[in-house]
Amino acid sequence: ELPRPYPNEIPHNEKLLSLKYESLDYDNSENQLFLEEERRINHAAFRTVEIKRWVICAMIGILTGLVACFIDIVVENLAGLKYRVVKDNIDKFTEKGGLSFSLLLWATLNASVVMVGSVIVAFVEPVAAGSGIPQIKCYLNGVKIPHVVRLKTLVIKVCGVILSVVGGLAVGKEGPMIHSGAVIAAGISQGRSTSLKRDFKIFEYFRRDTEKRDFVSAGAAAGVSAAFGAPVGGVLFSLEEGASFWNQFLTWRIFFASMISTFTLNSVLSVYHGNPWDLSSPGLINFGRFDNEKMGYTIQEIPIFIFMGVVGGILGALFNALNYWLTMFRIRYIHRPCLQVIEAMLVAAVTAAVGFVMIYCSRDCQPIQGSSVAYPLQAVGLALFPCFLPTPGSYNPMTLGMFTLMYFFLACWTYGLTVSAGVFIPSLLIGAAWGRLFGISLSYLAKGSIWADPGKYALMGAAAQLGGIVRMTLSLTVIMMEATGNVTYGFPIMLVLMTAKIVGDYFVEGLYDMHIQLQSVPFLHWEAPVTSHSLTAREVMSTPVTCLRRIERVGTVVDILSDTSSNHNGFPVVESNPNTTQVAGLRGLILRSQLIVLGLVPPQVFVERANLNLVQRRLKLKDFRDAYPRFPPIQSIHVSQDERECMIDLSEFMNPTPYTVPQEASLPRVFKLFRALGLRHLVVVNNHNEVVGMVTRKDLARYRLGKEGLEELSLAQT
């Protein structure tokens, strides 16, 4: 019987891979130009290059710290202003009556601020939406997300996060710091700005994907370090995400950048607050001090912590599942920018309303012991309970419970909006609230004995909830250890996070991984799916492959590049065989970007058919570096009819030693080679070194271990 026709259009789901995501060119193209340059650079110049790397890392750290300071100071001032306006209004109306006006004012203020924040993200740079951590995870994985490390993205992200936080949404400002750090790193390491059209003519050696990716790892680590005051946590975050392309020198440089970032933030903030060199705020988030003497833990509490981890995992899975349905709905139905802006405004208004009603109904109001830190002004919109403070003050369990519930749903609703915002702080808050509730109930049961201190359980609850939502393990443990300044708590925090991850993974993925899947990014996990040894390269590869001959007609090249039905970026170069019926042996690999530079630089390099070398100007590696990273499309190159008949010799510019794999190689083997070396194209050859197919990222990312076993994702145009 006839099979049904292959369906062409389906509604969006998470089992798709998008064609718009390419890999980074991490693998170096060692063509003749590169080898010549290598021979020219002597030993002393290489040491200069190494010193320049360190200088760039220092600059990354300083600038990331400064940007974090800027965000913090502006948020403090704007949120303080808004808070005062609302508070004065409430005070005025409390006596006279008519508090509903205050509610309207608060909701309108929130909605208008968030409207501005959402408009800049939705209309100017949509990639700046969300927390930025999924995008950076993908970048460190080797996927080129369009526009993710541009200057415009940085500006929109910083302004967006300030407006989201001031607008009272249930969000945090830590995630966007990581994205900002990455953009700063990508920008500085190139020594020029393509957007501003200024070239400072420094750092030209680093203008390729290999170096840029390494600096982006440093930038992400500096961002984590500025956000949490956790330099080692930042290094481990980069390590966890970009582990397969790691080298030890990189670790040391990244650590350097993180340390400088937290030091810069600390010193600038202490000068701003009027206590120069006080150095008491190493990160944007402050957990309070956890003293060993006052709050130790005993071995009997370990099972309690593990139980809290289980609860955190379940609640985190619930959060992720709800957010999944919401995001699916948003992708399918709310895809126009104006609708996204309206949605963000509505969420802001509802957040204000919920906060107002909670303050209105709650009967307990306590002075916060200690200094008047601007915790409420971190614009949660609700009367924020600094649940972390290890104070003996007891909060009313009813109010705390209501707060947890309301904030859980608000945070779940807010993540995924078209605003720049993170999810760390909301998760920590939710966890701290129910952790504290847990601790309070435990101290009732234990009849007030010393060890049932609610502050400690608040910390564990926060770790459990955050672990249940984002499922980060190593880096998160170290971040929390450093942020609380207490190594003793490292062991229970690690147990809690592991438990939360195991329990949560049973139900649904982590939040960031889920969003990566929903965006159809071809993300390569740490290893190939375990049951895939039966698949060989022959079944995985794409075939037939568009090859170029070593000495090729210009017209053929232009036609191949202009072909819109396929978007190839790498072409194997085979031997120019006069006998065209034979499949020729592989000689090299050339990229589309390299071909375009060949066509761009006037005059083009040609070899006349009569073998006269009309080489007027030799191309140098510098020409390729100058065109990086935004190569113009093929349509902008005009080739006259005469030029089309000329021949071009690709031997100098192609990569003469591309990585190849025999067609009988198993999928895990191909996967390991591809991922460990950061390849973009892997040529599949047969016994006679003839090209039979090509493996790219999409071919490998297709295979995933689903619920029923190995499953295959389909490709779609998005």
């Binding site: 259009e9 969006h12 009556g97 509903s100 992708i331 601007a374 075939t543 490709l715």
Partner: protein
């Protein structure tokens, strides 16, 4: 030596216990007691050997600890805010506030005394009516002091007034609202609930309308160019059938 130390031990503890926050006189108590200790410690540090032998001669180093405690409490309570520079008197604004505070307390006492014993003890309407003006003046003065304090402060933090003033205001407010029940209860519940329900209703309308009206975003599938066995083709088709 011994009498001096015991004096240092007893006096501050007693002073703080008596002049505690509930009497809104912490700064003044600190001033009188702390002043003595500061002088005592200051005098003894004139000659270093003498200072060492007194201050650090015992295991607990009580004097140093207490001196540090007083310093910290002074800073945290922001006592400097209500003391005139370099003297032991209250500043003008603080004095004005304290006078008004005493006036309010006297007004309360006066009106409470006037109640006969046979009246129900919970009837405070007299107090509310007669002392309303004084209480309002006190409240306004407090707000004014807060505003002035905020503007005069350079750093971005919301600085506090001196703890004496804050405690006095808190005591009065507690008496007025909780004990006497004089504050007008908010009859705003209905409008607040109405407005908040309206705001909560808006997103539901929004989502329903976008679900019904927006065109669902569809994805165009692309066939991969591969050596396909028939089995895999059938698999993919089965998934979408």
């Amino acid at each position: 030596m011994a009498p001096l130390r015991s004096q240092l031990l007893l006096l501050p503890a007693l002073a703080l216990a008596i002049g505690s926050a509930s009497w809104a006189g912490l700064s003044r108590s600190l001033l009188t007691q702390y002043g003595d200790i500061a002088r005592a410690v200051g005098n003894s540090s004139e000659s270093h050997n003498c200072a060492k032998s007194i201050l650090t001669s015992d295991r607990l180093q009580v004097v140093v600890t207490l001196s540090a405690f007083f310093n910290d409490t002074w800073e945290a309570a922001n006592c400097a805010n209500c003391i005139k520079n370099n003297s032991e008197e209250l500043s003008n604004s603080t004095q004005e506030f304290m006078d008004l505070f005493n006036k309010s307390l006297t007004c309360f006492e006066h009106n409470l005394q006037g109640q006969a014993m046979d009246l129900s003890p919970n009837n405070y309407t007299e107090v509310c009516k007669n002392c309303n003006g004084t209480y309002k003046n006190l409240s306004d003065l407090y707000n004014k002091l807060q505003r002035l304090n905020r503007h005069g402060d350079e750093s971005g933090h919301s600085a506090h007034l001196c703890i004496d003033v804050e405690d006095a205001m808190n005591i009065t407010r507690k008496l007025w609202s909780r004990t006497f029940n004089c504050s007008v209860p908010c009859s705003d519940t209905v409008p607040v609930i109405a407005v908040s329900s309206f705001i909560l209703f808006l997103p539901i309308v929004f989502y329903l309308s976008s679900f019904l009206h927006s065109k669902q975003k569809k994805r165009i599938l692309i066939l991969p160019k591969r050596i396909q066995s028939n089995a895999s083709l059938v698999n993919i088709q089965e998934k979408y059938s």
